[in-house]
């Protein structure tokens, strides 16, 4: 008994930093990104859409921290205002598949049989198409624009969550607490949502954190291909795309937004990594 108590106390005394440094670093980066996304006007007074013929393709300077693009638009303000768009795309792309994918996985795993077979075969069909090709095809049908981009990402993004949750549910439904809940005569809905879901959702949460990075990357690459967000939108991928023909003479248009995208992506990745550390530590 005595040993156990000290051990517990020891664990409790560890700071978050000691338990998972990557979580703290990820949190800091994401917090900064969220702050920038919510209050872009605090950081820059320049209009990200305003072109200026007299200031085309200027390098980084005190006046234009990140330089200007080929329309003379201030890149710092474009990157700052772009943060909101990219974060919204990242979070928006993940939120819907996270909820619906997880629910489908829960249903498939819990009921098994025909329900499971139907859901999983539909999933196989979606799996058979390469992710990016599928997104491009959907965007081509729906037309370009941020909303359609999100819809396309939802249609292809749910399947990983379903697989993940289903496999966990298959294990969880054999466990004693589910058996006893059944014996108590609880409804299926109550068992699924109140007893199984909280025990299986952690893996989906961890996956979602890294999925945000992937979605931001995909959105950026679609903008790069010219079929993502509307051309003038200061989305990071679109900015990089616009600068690619200037890579020899005006490197700042591609390199700086690229670096920002990489850092924020790294932040989310670390956050996901840290969350999984934490959740694993808790379960053990």
């Amino acid at each position: 008994m005595k040993v156990k108590v000290t051990a517990r106390g020891g664990v409790r005394r560890l700071s978050l930093w000691q338990r998972s440094p990557s979580l703290v670093m990820g949190l800091v980066i994401v917090a900064v990104a969220v702050f920038v996304a919510v209050f872009p006007q605090l950081l820059t007074s320049a209009d990200p859409y305003a072109s200026d013929q007299a200031a085309m393709l200027l390098g980084p300077s005190a006046q234009h921290w990140f330089g200007t693009d080929n329309y003379g638009r201030d890149l710092f303000s474009r990157v700052v205002y772009g943060t909101r768009i990219d974060l919204l795309i990242g979070l928006g792309c993940v939120a819907v598949p996270f909820v619906f994918g997880s629910l489908l996985g829960l249903i498939a795993g819990y009921y098994g049989g025909k329900v499971d077979a139907i859901i999983m075969r539909v999933l196989d069909v979606f799996m058979a198409f390469p992710f990016l090709i599928m997104v491009i095809a959907i965007v081509a049908i729906l037309g370009p624009g941020t909303r359609n981009l999100l819809i396309a990402m939802w249609i292809v993004g749910w399947k990983e969550y379903t697989r993940l949750i289903r496999s966990e549910v298959l294990v969880a439904k054999q466990s004693e607490y589910v058996q006893s809940a059944r014996t108590m005569g609880y409804s299926d809905l109550r068992i699924m949502l109140r007893h199984i879901l909280p025990n299986v959702i952690s893996s989906a949460i961890v996956y979602a954190a890294s999925d945000i990075v992937m979605c931001m990357g995909t959105a950026a690459s679609l903008s790069y291909l010219g079929i993502g967000v509307e051309p003038t939108t200061p989305e990071w991928g679109a900015i990089i795309n616009g600068g690619k023909s200037f890579i020899n003479s005006a490197w700042w248009i591609t390199v700086i937004p690229g670096a920002v995208l990489a850092v924020v992506g790294w932040g989310f990745s670390m956050l996901g990594d840290g969350l999984s550390d934490l959740l694993r530590a808790d379960t053990h």
């Binding site: 072109s51 080929n70 329309y71 081509a140 037309g143 051309p231």
Partner: protein, 525 residues
């Protein structure tokens, strides 16, 4: 252990060898300019041209696409040709000609002693064959150039007679087209239609000697060329380098001597490089906004006029083309001799535009879709600036960028509100473009779904009018009527974006795109 040692040894050997190899090539390179200097800057034998696409069909009658058209002039010549500046037609293989009083018979006197690039003499039979082959293919894109020819005859090897179906003002420009170039009948009989895809035998300054599809084309000087002392350079190598940045870098490093199909931004960036000369050649490539009048707002002429007034083509041209483009007052290419001088370049008047919009019943504006083809930088820049300018009168523009196939479908299906539209002349005469502009059924009133009153009849008249001044008046009237309908907003004509290394001279590209390289030279050093 032994094996590791062996690998190490082998690696060391390879490294040493490659180092000496590099050293070798360096000394060679260093020697070259010295040699050139000693030989008093003798012109180089070979000039390398880098372009974005390979050709796919060299059959003069069947081919379509600029990547074919642009190089046909190297191998093919006809009775007449368009001048280097694209403004008129000048004699080529014909020395002079007479026109019958009824305007239906053209008799050409040909140069004597003409030979094909394989050394065989050009006979009357070859001329008749070349024309009749083009005239026998009514489904091909360029048939319009021979449509008006009733028959041709060659009484002897230096006389060629063309009989027309009806009087036409565009006869000579039509005869300057590649469909009317002379080709060897004997070679055609040898290879047939399939072989013709890979080239023909003509009288042009160069002949195609090697073609690795997708990679390069090698041209060698025609030893039997009819102009003494031409072509100056012995070999021309056309290399396909798809990526814009790679073409720029290879030009800067001297791997290629001329880079064509560049973008405006590449040209702009090359300005500061003193090893390279930026050479934007005048072209017939226009950009304008076409307003689809099927749209509820755009069906209102006041709205169209307001949008026109809100647009500042001068600023758009200078930003989107880095000042290389020429701002347009009408939809005709700015190089055309038929532009109505009384139509001014559009001036932005935001207050007037707002007032008109209010009169039309939309004081708070509305929103429109502006369609562009993805990956085209000039179009994207134009769209970006139009969006900014129209936003000032409350019109919210949504830029819709589609890849080529969807874009073309939407364009032909009139499934857009406004489009950044384009035109390129293929012939040095306004008749081709005017036909498309005035004949409503050809492309739904050139993508506007609007029938301008009376222009079809005016165009018919103009195509038969032989008096130059009267013909101009008719075309002016057409342009005036189109301008009054406010269905287009002319923006600019953009040049061909070419750049050459400093030691290249006389690289010529006509406004129609044809490469004229017979006098091109490269001085060593």
């Amino acid at each position: 252990m032994n094996f590791k040692k062996l690998v190490c040894l082998a690696l060391a050997l390879v490294t040493a060898l490659s180092l000496t190899a590099c050293g070798g090539s360096e000394t060679e390179e260093a020697q070259q300019p010295a040699d050139g200097g000693a030989a008093d800057a003798a012109p180089a034998d070979t000039i390398v041209i880098g372009r974005a696409y390979d050709s796919d069909n060299l059959d003069p009658v069947v081919q379509v696409g600029n990547y074919n058209i642009w190089i046909l002039d190297l191998m093919l010549e006809g009775l007449v040709q368009c001048t280097d500046d694209g403004s008129a037609v000048e004699p080529c293989l014909a020395t002079d000609w007479t026109v019958s009083d009824d305007g239906l018979t053209y008799t050409f006197n040909l140069k004597e002693g003409l030979c094909f690039s394989d050394g065989t003499p050009v006979t009357g039979e070859d001329w008749v064959f070349s024309f009749e082959r083009a005239m026998s293919m009514p489904d091909e894109s360029w048939y319009f150039t021979v449509e008006n020819i009733a028959s041709v005859e060659a009484p002897d090897d230096t006389t060629f007679i063309v009989h027309l179906k009806e009087v036409s003002a565009a006869t000579l420009p039509n005869l300057s087209m590649w469909t009317c170039g002379v080709q060897s009948k004997a070679y055609y009989e040898q290879v047939g239609d399939e072989g013709y895809v890979n080239g023909f035998i003509g009288t042009g300054p160069y002949m195609l000697t090697d073609w690795s599809k997708g990679e390069s084309m090698t041209f060698e000087a025609n030893p039997y060329y009819h102009i003494e002392g031409q072509p100056v350079t012995k070999n021309i190598l056309m290399r396909v380098i798809a990526d814009d940045n790679s073409r720029v870098m290879q030009l800067q490093s001297g791997d290629i001597d001329v880079a064509i199909n560049l973008s405006m931004d590449s040209l702009y960036q090359l300005e500061s490089d003193d090893r390279v000369v930026v050479d934007p050649s005048t072209s017939c490539e226009t950009r304008f906004l076409a307003l689809n009048t099927s749209n509820e707002y755009l069906s209102n002429p006041k709205v169209r006029q307001a949008l026109s007034m809100a647009t500042d083509p001068t600023t758009i041209t200078s930003v989107a083309t880095y000042g290389y483009g020429e701002v347009a007052s009408t939809v005709l290419p700015t190089v055309s001799a038929y532009i109505d001088p009384s139509i001014p370049v559009n001036q932005q008047d935001l207050e007037g535009a707002k007032k008109l919009l209010a009169e039309a019943g939309y004081p708070d504006g509305f929103s429109l879709d502006l369609m562009i083809c993805s990956g085209k930088t000039v179009e994207e820049s134009i769209a970006t600036l139009v969006k900014e300018q129209w936003a000032q009168i409350g019109v919210d523009v949504r830029i819709c960028s589609y890849e080529k196939v969807t874009y073309t479908d939407n364009l032909y299906g009139l499934n857009f509100d406004v489009v950044v539209d384009y035109w390129t002349d293929d012939i040095c005469d306004p008749s081709e473009f005017m036909e498309y502009l005035c004949d409503f059924d050809l492309c739904s009133g050139f993508d506007t779904n609007y029938k301008v009153e009376g222009i079809e009849e005016l165009n018919d008249q103009a195509s038969r009018e032989l008096d130059e001044t009267a013909r101009k008046e008719l075309y002016y009237e057409i342009q005036q009527r189109i301008a009054d309908a406010y269905i287009y907003i002319p923006i600019c004509t953009i040049p061909y974006a070419n750049a050459e290394s400093v030691n290249i001279s006389n690289f010529v590209q006509t406004p129609l795109g044809n490469l004229r390289l017979a006098t091109m030279t490269k001085t060593a050093g």
